[in-house]
C-alpha cells in the first residue's frame, strides 16, 4: 500500500515558477558594510543602523541552535545575498499603475490580484517581493479608520516613535541566533498599528515571495493593537522551485495592549524541495506576542511548505486574564522536516491558553511538535489545555512530540493530550468502496483530521487552506 500512497502524495508545486524581473541584488556575503548598505538603501535613521549593528555583533558570538529534531548541512552565511529588489522599485511607484506589470502578473499567478477592484472584498494586502514591499492595497480606506498598514521600511521613516517603542520589545535582538540575524539584516515586512478601540474594518494580509536565486528573505512584521482594538492578519508565502536551499529567517512581533485582540493566521507554502530532498526553503522563524490585561492573541498556522521548518509562535501572557491560543496544522511529505510548536508563558493571574496541534507526516518526512507551557509564580488560577495529534500516512515517515511543562504555581492547571493515528487501509478501503478515488479519500481523511484548526481560520482562507492541503496531497495517480 505504501507505494501507492507515496504516489498519491507526490505532488507538483504550483507556485514553483520563476519571474523574469530585473533585480538589484547585493553580492553574496555578510559583514558590517553590508548592513550599512542595507540601512542606506532604506534611508534609515541612525538609531536603526546602530540597532542593526548591535544585533550583528551579538550574532557573531552566537551559535546556531542544534536542539531541534532536524538534520541539514551547515548553512554558509557568507554564500547568501542579503538584499535583492526589483530594479523598477528604485523610484518607488506611487500607485499600482507604476508597478512593473511582470510583478503584478507574478502575484496574479499566485492567485493574489493586487488591483483593488479585483481583490477579495475586505482584505488589504501588502506584497513583499524578495527584500522589498511592492505594493500595499486599500491604504486610504484603512487610514480613514486610523489604521496604519504599511511596509516596515516606510514605518521607520514615518512613524519612528511607534517603531522605536515596540521593535525588539517582544523578541529582543539577542533572543536567538536566527532572530539576531534577522535584526541585523531585515529588509522589509509589514507594520500594523490599530488605534485605541478600533476594530480593523478589513482583514489585513501580507504575501511574501522569494524570487531571486541565492537570496535570503529576512522580513520583519510588527503588529501593535492598542487598547480595546481588534485585528485579523494573514500571511502567505511561496517561492520558486530551485535546486539550492534558500534561507528564510523572519521575525514577527505582536503587541496586544489591554483588552485588545490579535488573530494572526499563516498559510505557509514555501517550496519544500523535490522528493529526494534537493532544494527547498529553510524556514527559521521567531514569532512571539505579548498580551497585556484581558488581551488575546490567537496564532493559527497551516504549514505545508519548506524543506525545514523551525517555528514556535508563542504568547507571553503578561496581563491578568489574558488569553493565548495556538492552532496548527503542519503537513510534511517527501524529505521535509518540521520542528514546530509553541510556547505559552503564563505570568498574569487567570491567564488561559489553548494549544491544538495537528501534525501530518507522509513520505519519508519527519514532523515534530515541540511545545512549552510555563506557569510563572504569579499565574494564580492559570489554565492550559494542549491537544497534540499526529497522523501518519504510509510507513516511512515519523512523528515526534516534545512537550515541556514548567509550573511554579500550584494553583495553575495544565492538561495535555496526545494521540498518534494512521490513515488506515480500512479507512481508505471504506472511502473507495463508496466510490471515492484514493486521492479524494486521503484528502478527505486528512481534512477531517484538521477540522478543529481550519475552523479557526478566517472564512476565505479556511477554503484556501483546505484546497492547499488537497493540492499538497495531490499525486501523479492515473
Amino acid at each position: 500500500m505504501s507505494d501507492q500512497l507515496d504516489q498519491a502524495i507526490a505532488r507538483k508545486y504550483d507556485a514553483g515558477f520563476v519571474s523574469d524581473i530585473e533585480s538589484d541584488t547585493f553580492p553574496i556575503g555578510l559583514d558590517e558594510s553590508v548592513i550599512e548598505r542595507i540601512s542606506a538603501m532604506k534611508n534609515e535613521p541612525e538609531w536603526m543602523l546602530e540597532w542593526r549593528l548591535q544585533a550583528f555583533r551579538s550574532w557573531l558570538k552566537m551559535k546556531e541552535p542544534d536542539w531541534a529534531h532536524l538534520g541539514y548541512d551547515p548553512i554558509d552565511y557568507q554564500s547568501i545575498s542579503y538584499y535583492s529588489a526589483p530594479k523598477s522599485m528604485k523610484d518607488k511607484p506611487k500607485s499600482l499603475d507604476e508597478v512593473d506589470p511582470e510583478l503584478l502578473r507574478t502575484y496574479e499567478k499566485l492567485g493574489i490580484p493586487l488591483h483593488e477592484q479585483e481583490m477579495l472584498a475586505g482584505v488589504a494586502v501588502d506584497a513583499v517581493f524578495d527584500s522589498v514591499s511592492v505594493v500595499t492595497t486599500f491604504r486610504e480606506k484603512l487610514e480613514e479608520a486610523g489604521v496604519i498598514f504599511c511596509p516596515i521600511s516606510e514605518a521607520i521613516q514615518k512613524y519612528p516613535e511607534l517603531v522605536k517603542k515596540y521593535i525588539g520589545s517582544v523578541v529582543p535582538k539577542t533572543d536567538n541566533f536566527f532572530a539576531a540575524l534577522n535584526c541585523a539584516v531585515f529588509t522589509d515586512g509589514s507594520f500594523v498599528y490599530i488605534p485605541k478601540g478600533v476594530r480593523c474594518p478589513m482583514e489585513l494580509s501580507t504575501y511574501f515571495r522569494i524570487n531571486e536565486l541565492n537570496t535570503g528573505q529576512f522580513e520583519r512584521t510588527l503588529i501593535v493593537a492598542d487598547e480595546g482594538s481588534y485585528v485579523s492578519y494573514l500571511e502567505g508565502c511561496t517561492a520558486p522551485q530551485r535546486d539550492e536551499n534558500q534561507l528564510h529567517a523572519a521575525v514577527v512581533e505582536l503587541v496586544a495592549l489591554d483588552d485588545a485582540e490579535i488573530k494572526y493566521s499563516t498559510v505557509q507554502n514555501w517550496y519544500p524541495g523535490d522528493e529526494n530532498g534537493k532544494g527547498g526553503i529553510y524556514n527559521f522563524v521567531t514569532k512571539r506576542g505579548v498580551c497585556e490585561k484581558n488581551a488575546k492573541i490567537s496564532w493559527t498556522q497551516v504549514e505545508t511548505g519548506s524543506a525545514i521548518t523551525w517555528k514556535y509562535p508563542s504568547c507571553i501572557l503578561r496581563g491578568d486574564n489574558s488569553v493565548g491560543e495556538f492552532y496548527s496544522v503542519a503537513l510534511t511529505r517527501g524529505r521535509q522536516q518540521a520542528d514546530t510548536g509553541t510556547k505559552m508563558i503564563h505570568l498574569g493571574k487567570n491567564t488561559k491558553s489553548t494549544i491544538i496541534s495537528k501534525g501530518i507526516s507522509a513520505g519519508n518526512s519527519s514532523n515534530a511538535y515541540r511545545g512549552l507551557v510555563k506557569m510563572g509564580p504569579g499565574a494564580d488560577g492559570a489554565r492550559n489545555f494542549t491537544e497534540c495529534d499526529s497522523l501518519l500516512i504510509g510507513d516511512k515517515c515519523a512523528a515526534h512530540t516534545f512537550p515541556y511543562i514548567e509550573s511554579s504555581n500550584p494553583s495553575a492547571i495544565v492538561e495535555h493530550e496526545a494521540t498518534t493515528s494512521k490513515v488506515s487501509d480500512d479507512q481508505l478501503f471504506l472511502c473507495q468502496q463508496r466510490g471515492l478515488d484514493e486521492e479524494k479519500a486521503i484528502s478527505m481523511i486528512v481534512n477531517g483530521f484538521c477540522k478543529e484548526v481550519f475552523k479557526e481560520l478566517p472564512m476565505e482562507f479556511a477554503v484556501e487552506a483546505g484546497k492547499l492541503l488537497e493540492i499538497s496531497l495531490e499525486g501523479s495517480v492515473g
Partner: protein
C-alpha cells in the same frame, strides 16, 4: 445476469482461501451465503469489492457486463457494487453528511446523473436516516465516530439506501445486533428489494433470514459452495449446525443438486 462467478480462487497472505467458487446471481434475487467460521465468507465480499491484499489466483467474475476483476475498488463501487462492512471503520472529523454527499455524487456522476445539490441531498439523507432509525445528529457526526455497534450497522444500511447500488453484499450485517436493531437492518434491506437490485447476504446464523427471506441459500465451506438450496436449507443448518460438513463430501454433493 447480475453476477457470474466462475471457478474463483483467491488467497490472502499466500494462503488460499477461496478454492474454486461458482455462483450466479440474477437481477432481483437474494442469495444467502452461510457457513462455518473461516470458510471464506468475508473473503468473498472483499475479493468481489477489490480489497488490496486479496489476490485472485484464477477464475472470472462478470458483474453486469463488466469484467469485475479488472476494475479498481472505486470503479466497482461506481458501477453499482456495494459492500456493507462487518466492522465499519471510523473516520474522525469527516461528517457523515459530507462523506455521503461526496460518495453519492461521485457515483451519480459515474452513472451519468446530475449531482444532488446540498438542499436535495439533505432531504434524501434525512429520509434515509429516519428509515434506519438513526437520529438526525448522526448525519453531522464524524463517520461512525463514537457510534455503537448497532448504530454503525444501521449507518451502513443508510449508505446503501443512498447509493442505490445494483448489487449489495451484506457481510454479517446481523452480528452483534439485538432483535430490534436486526429488524431495522432487515426492514432497510427489504425496502430496497425492487425486483432489479440483487443481494448477497453473508451470515453465520439463520436468524437474519427470518427477516430477509432469501431466494437461494448456499453453504460455503473450505472455500467452495458445497450445498445450495432454497430457504429451507437455512432451517436445516439452524437445526443441525455445520457439523455435518465434516461427514465427508457425499452428503454435501447430494444436497447441492437442489
Amino acid at each position: 445476469m447480475m453476477l457470474t462467478i466462475k471457478d474463483l480462487q483467491a488467497s490472502v497472505e499466500d494462503k488460499t482461501i477461496l478454492k474454486g467458487l461458482n455462483l450466479t446471481v440474477n437481477a432481483g434475487e437474494v442469495h444467502a451465503i452461510m457457513g462455518p467460521n473461516g470458510a471464506g465468507k468475508s473473503t468473498l465480499g472483499y475479493v468481489l469489492s477489490g480489497r488490496e491484499g486479496y489476490e485472485v489466483e484464477q477464475g472470472k467474475v462478470d458483474f453486469d457486463g463488466h469484467d469485475l476483476l479488472d476494475m479498481e475498488v472505486d470503479e466497482r463501487a461506481q458501477a453499482g457494487l456495494f459492500l456493507a462492512f462487518q466492522y465499519p471503520v471510523e473516520i474522525p472529523g469527516v461528517s457523515n453528511m459530507e462523506f455521503m454527499k461526496e460518495s453519492v455524487n461521485t457515483v451519480r456522476k459515474a452513472r451519468g446523473e446530475e449531482p444532488y445539490t446540498a438542499a436535495e441531498f439533505l432531504k434524501i439523507a434525512k429520509a434515509a436516516s429516519q428509515q434506519v432509525n438513526l437520529p438526525l445528529d448522526f448525519l453531522k457526526r464524524g463517520v461512525n465516530e463514537g457510534f455503537s455497534g448497532g448504530e454503525k450497522k444501521r449507518n451502513e444500511i443508510m449508505q446503501m439506501i443512498l447509493l442505490e447500488p445494483k448489487l449489495c453484499i451484506l457481510d454479517e450485517s446481523d452480528s452483534g445486533l439485538d432483535i430490534d436493531a436486526l429488524k431495522v437492518v432487515a426492514d432497510g434491506v427489504n425496502s430496497q428489494r425492487d425486483g432489479k437490485r440483487s443481494f448477497i447476504v453473508v451470515t453465520h446464523y439463520q436468524r437474519l433470514l427470518d427477516f430477509i427471506e432469501p431466494d437461494f441459500v448456499h453453504i460455503l465451506a473450505d472455500g467452495k459452495i458445497v450445498k445450495s438450496g432454497g430457504p429451507e436449507l437455512a432451517k436445516e443448518v439452524e437445526a443441525s449446525g455445520y457439523a455435518w460438513l465434516d461427514n465427508g463430501d457425499a452428503t454435501a454433493t447430494q444436497g447441492a443438486t437442489a
